[in-house]
Amino acid sequence: MSNLTDLSIAAIRDGVRDGSFTAREVAEGFIANVEKGRSLNAYVVETPEHALAAADAADQARTSDDLKPLSGVPIGMKDLFATKGVQTTAGSNMLGGFKPVYESTVSRKLWDAGAGMLGKLNMDEFAMGSSNETSAYGPVISPWRRNDGGNAPLAPGGSSGGSASAVAARLCPGATGTDTGGSIRQPAAFVGISGIKPTYGRCSRWGVVAFASSLDQAGPMARDVRDCAIMLEAMSGFDPKDSTSLDMPVPNWEAALSSDIRGKRIGIPREYRIDGIPEEIGRVWDEGIERMRDAGAEIVEVSLPHTKYALPTYYIIAPAEASSNLARYDGVRYGLRGTSDGGIDGMYQATRHDGFGSEVKRRIMIGTYVLSAGFYDAYFNQAQKVRALIARDFERVFNEVDLILTPTAPSAAFALGDKSSDPLAMYLNDVFAVPASLAGLPAMSVPAGLDGQGLPLGLQLIGRPFDEQGVLNAGLALEERSGFTHRPKAWW
């Protein structure tokens, strides 16, 4: 039955529906893979009982003809989503042992749609990182290896590194991710899978441990575009408990999926051709452009002049919001409490010293600094103005084109430890992902090719607000023409 774990979400759903196999068989297959794949460190909590219960419910539902959109599909849940009664730590010691008494809206929707949970997926601590090395549970290891014989363990990207690795290694057919500044797209690109960050507000943030509220968006990571559409449909929707949630109907993205993009105008932003990135990135991008042209799209060179300021803007706004969002981890109501003789302030300082890892502390410090007395205007307010300019760039360009095509990341996966000592080098990973995050736009990464060492590279499609359909369709067109079928050899 091991081949069941090679099936896409759509195929599993359809197979369960038409009785080709049972949901329980699927769940058992993935549970076995999860156990076999423990060396990847993708899961921090395994919940086979949850997956099996959902599978049994699906098999039951089939007999009563009551199947739901994701009946029979077991998935992985990023540990940033609060799951009732199941440890939720955001990859941090700070929340060691924390069992929420509530279920995040997004995970609730997935369970309501019939999905089961295989476990909680490892991630960078509080979603701050681009390599999954900041997790309190240790780094996730990518299932990919370089073809030069070097066996250096590779980073799966981050912060949704566990999700990426698990999907790529068939430890689940799809997983949730969250994307604040590339945390779905960059890891998807690193492991050769697809991932979409929808328009800001599509997925409720309620019950998702907050990193940077104005940027955080949940989204799916799966093996292909169709699976992303299926999952995103289940995850999206208005939530009155999230004031920034979009009060709009959720389109039937899967039903309207079409790779026919004839006549679509696709913008190629010249500012994304930056110095110092591997020549292969440019090559894969050019191939992607040709494939879109081949699919009947019109290619238009466009300019997004404030692109170079996106990353520094992001590294003011995201840490500022994070410094405030993470103030609640104070050892009073849940999570870790540090010990100190220094009274209440001593307790706070010990708790936050012991509970947070160094990257989280670094960002809290930056955020605290840029908001502190005398610096607010120079940093935070300036950044919000530049952010408005970045959004305006996109707005203007979207008067001319329907979509924008760029590389997802400036490199292929790097080895663990390669960049972890240089925060700035690490931040640069998100240089192509961050602009769309700042503007709240739907953006997707699809695998587009391999580099010289046999590692996957991804391309990013950015769409107008609310136009997930356009992004998915173009992604499908790219996917079909790229014919990307590479997968890592199971060495684990």
Binding site: G97, K99, V101, T199, G201, S214, L215, P240, S243, T244, L246, Y309, P312, Y315, I316, S323, D330, G331, V332, R333, Y334, G335, R337, G338, S340, G343, I344, D345, G346, M347, Q349, A350, R352, H353, K361, R362, I364, M365, I366, T368, Y369, V370, S372, F375, A378, Y379, Q382, A383, Q384, K385, V386, R387, A388, L389, A391, P423, L424, L438, A439, P465
Partner: protein
């Protein structure tokens, strides 16, 4: 703009994060490196630009004044490091 060790300590204090001398020594250049890089934003002409207030055009919806939550003390206290007599307990605060 650059930060010195005293500033690092001050920020850490504002953020309620204990820092050892070694940590301060490590953070100082790191923060300066990052802040120096962020500094390039100053060159952007933002004359007449309003800071962004909503990422995607949206209007604030308000809740009706209905009591539909609370009364869940056990849930609220379930994960508390120390809870006694229905309260959270913290090291004594001297006012």
């Amino acid at each position: 703009m650059s930060v010195d060790a005293a500033t690092v300590r001050h920020i850490a204090k504002l953020a309620r994060i204990a820092v050892s001398d070694e940590e301060v020594a490590a953070l100082e250049p790191e923060l300066n490196n990052i802040l120096g890089w962020i500094e390039q934003l100053q060159e952007v002409d933002v004359t007449g630009v309003q800071p962004m207030t909503a990422v995607i055009p949206n209007t604030l919806r308000m809740r009706q004044d209905v009591v539909n939550d609370g009364g869940i003390r056990d849930d609220v206290l379930a994960n508390a490091p120390v809870a006694e007599h229905g309260f959270f307990a913290v090291p004594k605060v001297i006012e």
